[in-house]
């Protein structure tokens, strides 16, 4: 295997003439800010998405810290109830619509074409438009800070969000934001669907599609279904508020409950929109750093589809305490239970992927493993919430706040940080510092659990959600103080991560095309890739094309290409 081969006797594959393109003039890649605002390059758009998301993530985080400061001690009057409700609304809205949904649009924009061996997405200009709509949606929401921010919560239940009870125009800013970012996501999703269906490299059948791309495909389908519905729903609210309709007005024959059904019909798939791409990240990161193939590729891909389908059938488990007949309650309990099966299958497959591997403790892997462990807890508290009689005690309490942060932060945002550490070398050409990254990880992981684990207890002892203050005789003071301390640890962890990004962009070790010896096609090209992505797109023969290519190069040149664990360890 290691015999050196003379250049003349290089196997047949080298002698096949490559098609040649003769360029009469090569325009240099444009730089400067004009190149960014006029770009239709999926990589530049992806980076703009990610920077915008990073800024919104920090804004949403500061809002969360302000709320935690207010709740840190009982009877606090740091924030007025009005300010608290505004911060709560902005925090939820920002984190959902401006962070965890678009962050995957950002990563996928950059990565999906590279991972499937395409030169760009199917509709590059539409793609640019999606980004700008997203940005302006966020700006529309935040401009309301100068007037009257919305204060009816990210779910904006009617009648509270109707004209009679929220007279200010902040609610319109919220609706406008949902429209702009919603259409951005829908158009982006259509783009991903068209790209993934039509532009895969030769040989990349559905059984060889990287699992992150599988997740993004399903994410895209869910967005088309769920966010279209949400767009219609908020339009009804807009009409109710401004044009005299009464869809949700109980005093004129409308139904206040209709909003909840329509909203959660989008809102629950939204949860999977947040978390399925994170699952895709785990499925990419674990095999690379365990140096093992993913365990049960087909089961993981199929369970993604299963979760998405079932995710469309569970929305009313967010509203078990509204007037509902037992039959309906039972249906939504059962459908919520059933969704636990494909989710459990995924978790066990990931553990089996680690099993008997040789695991390298890179920061990307740490975040993925931490996310799986944390998500497991969120999944198990989800079982309690799915049992509707138990949910009557737990819903709208801090138990739910804890539960969904375990999924939305513990799985989705940890997945986002894992993706950052894993793909940053590809995007920037430089490595993030592993040392700083591990310190940041420690703060994020410990801070997260200190913040949210204790909130289960607060909820079980009767603390409702969305209250701006509580009295000292409620017995919730200690829980809240602990939670507030944890939230600042988490904040420090995020800050360390941001510092790591900023310093590594300039001073990080140069990454080279394939620093991790990874499995998928994005590592075939340079880091960062040229505007056209690939000079030659290789033919795909398995789900791990880079492994095949390394093996082939090894056979042809005799130079060891495969991953050597000892070397990697000394680097780390």
């Amino acid at each position: 295997m290691s015999t050196v081969v003379e250049p003349d006797t290089v196997p047949a594959i080298r002698r096949i003439p490559r098609p040649e393109i003769i360029a009469h003039a090569v325009e240099p890649e444009s730089e400067g800010w004009v190149s960014w605002i006029t770009t239709t390059d999926h990589k530049k758009i992806g980076i703009m998405y990610l920077w915008t998301v990073a800024i919104f993530f920090m804004i949403g985080g500061v809002e969360a810290l302000l709320m935690r400061l207010q709740l840190g001690v009982p009877d606090n009057n740091l924030l007025s109830p009005e300010k608290y409700n505004e911060l709560m609304t902005l925090h939820g809205t920002t984190m959902i619509f401006l962070v965890v949904v678009p962050v995957w649009a950002g990563f996928a924009n950059y990565l999906v074409p590279l991972m499937i061996g395409a030169r760009d997405v199917a509709f590059p200009r539409l793609n640019a438009w999606s980004y700008w709509r997203f940005l302006f949606g966020g700006v529309a929401l935040y401009l309301s800070l100068f007037f009257t921010p919305p204060e009816a919560g990210w779910f904006s239940y009617v009648p509270l969000s109707s004209r009679a009870y929220s007279a200010s125009n902040g609610q319109e800013a919220w609706i406008y934001m949902v429209h702009l970012t919603g259409l951005s996501s829908i158009l982006g999703a259509i783009n991903f669907i068209a790209t993934i269906h039509n532009m895969r490299a030769r040989g990349m059948g559905w059984g060889r599609l990287p699992l992150f791309v599988w997740a993004m495909l399903i994410y895209a389908y869910l967005i088309v279904i769920a966010l279209s519905s949400l767009a219609a729903t908020v339009t009804m609210l807009l009409l109710d508020r401004n044009f005299g309709t009464h869809f949700f007005d109980p005093t004129a024959g409308g139904s206040a409950l209709l909003w909840q059904h329509l909203f959660w019909f989008c809102g629950h798939p939204e949860v999977y929109i947040l978390v399925l791409p994170a699952f895709g990240v785990f499925s990419e990161v674990l095999p690379v750093f365990a140096r093992k193939p993913i365990f049960g590729y087909k089961a993981i891909a199929a369970s993604t589809v299963g979760i998405a389908f079932l995710g469309l059938l569970v929305w009313a488990h967010h509203m078990f305490s509204v007037p509902t007949s037992t039959v309906v309650l039972a249906f939504f309990m059962l459908s919520s239970f059933v969704i636990a099966v494909p989710t459990g299958v995924k978790v066990l497959n990931w553990i089996a992927t680690l099993w008997r591997g040789t695991i390298e403790y890179r920061v990307a892997l740490l975040y993925s493993v931490a996310a799986i462990g944390t998500f497991l807890m969120g999944g198990i508290t989800g079982i309690f919430l799915a049992v509707f009689p138990v949910d009557w005690q737990l819903t709208d309490s801090y138990f739910v706040v804890a539960h969904f942060h375990y999924t939305a932060f513990g799985a989705a945002a940890f997945g986002m940080l894992s993706a950052l550490y894993y793909w940053f070398p590809k995007m920037s050409g430089r490595m993030l510092s592993e040392k700083v990254g591990k310190v940041g990880f420690g703060f994020v992981f410990v801070g997260f659990h200190v913040t949210f684990l204790i909130q289960h207890a607060a909820g079980l002892s009767g603390m409702p959600r969305r209250i701006y203050e509580y009295s000292s005789d409620s017995g919730w003071s200690a829980y809240n103080l602990i939670s507030t301390i944890g939230s600042f640890m988490l904040g420090i962890g995020v800050l360390i991560t941001v510092i790591n990004i900023v310093t590594s962009l300039r001073k990080g070790t140069v990454a080279g095309p394939d620093p991790w010896k990874a499995n998928t096609l994005e590592w075939y090209t340079t880091s960062p890739p040229p505007e056209h992505n690939f000079d030659v797109v290789p033919r795909v023969r398995s789900v791990e094309p880079m492994k095949d290519i390394r093996r082939q190069v090894e056979q042809e040149t005799g130079v060891a290409q495969r991953h050597a664990p000892s070397r990697a360890l000394s680097e780390a």
Partner: protein, 269 residues
Amino acid sequence: MGASLVLAGSAFAGAFVPESGGSPNADRIATLYKLIAILALIVFAAVEGALVWAFFKFKAKKGAVAAQIHGNTRLEIGWTVGAAAILVFLVVVTFVELPAIKDPPATGRNGLQFASQAIYASTDQPTPPDGKALKIVVDGQQYVWRYQYPGKEGVFSYTEMVVPSDTTVVLDITADDVNHSWWIPKLGGKMDAIPGYTNHTWFKARPGTYRGQCAELCGRNHANMLAQVRVVSPDAYQRWYDGQAARIKQARTQQQQNRPKYDTAGVGG
């Protein structure tokens, strides 16, 4: 800060299980919660344990070679079926416990003795076995709870509900303005109060005072929309009821007497 942490010791009592002890439905919910918790803890320990063990045990070492395994169909079918079996068990447990949580029981021997049957219609909450219950209409308003008691005297109260002990109290819950949610943790789960709809729940409480507060965001003072249920003996309830009726009557009379003054005073008078 230190003082709050010391205080935590006593506060941790209700930290692991939902509040209970006031009414049988709250107790049954706590029981159901514990049953699920036992199963959940086993699953959690097994899966989280496997994850943590794999993570530390299979750390890359010099000379270690990763096993190139792509999957194991039997194993995968096995854990899919296993997960489904656990859920079937949970469904069975839930439906065994459900009637005791959802259906109001009969009033006890020490409870209020009803002269006639208080008949009420409801699609999804069956009547108590003897058809008798004290029905109170709970009405959520920004930011106060109003309770309407049965009887032609039209007795009502705000914030504090007074009820007889060992008596089945059924609640018709609605709201006047925005959504609210009725929640007294020790007396059972929440029921949302939604304008245009009537929601139902019940409790049969032991004597004592039970506190709760609105659990659905209802505006700026959501945090201050408190509720309290004072459970007293049937005799004491009857005395309170008569007293409240008299107070309301007196207030109405006073209002009637004062009205002419307002009427003749005119605007700005």
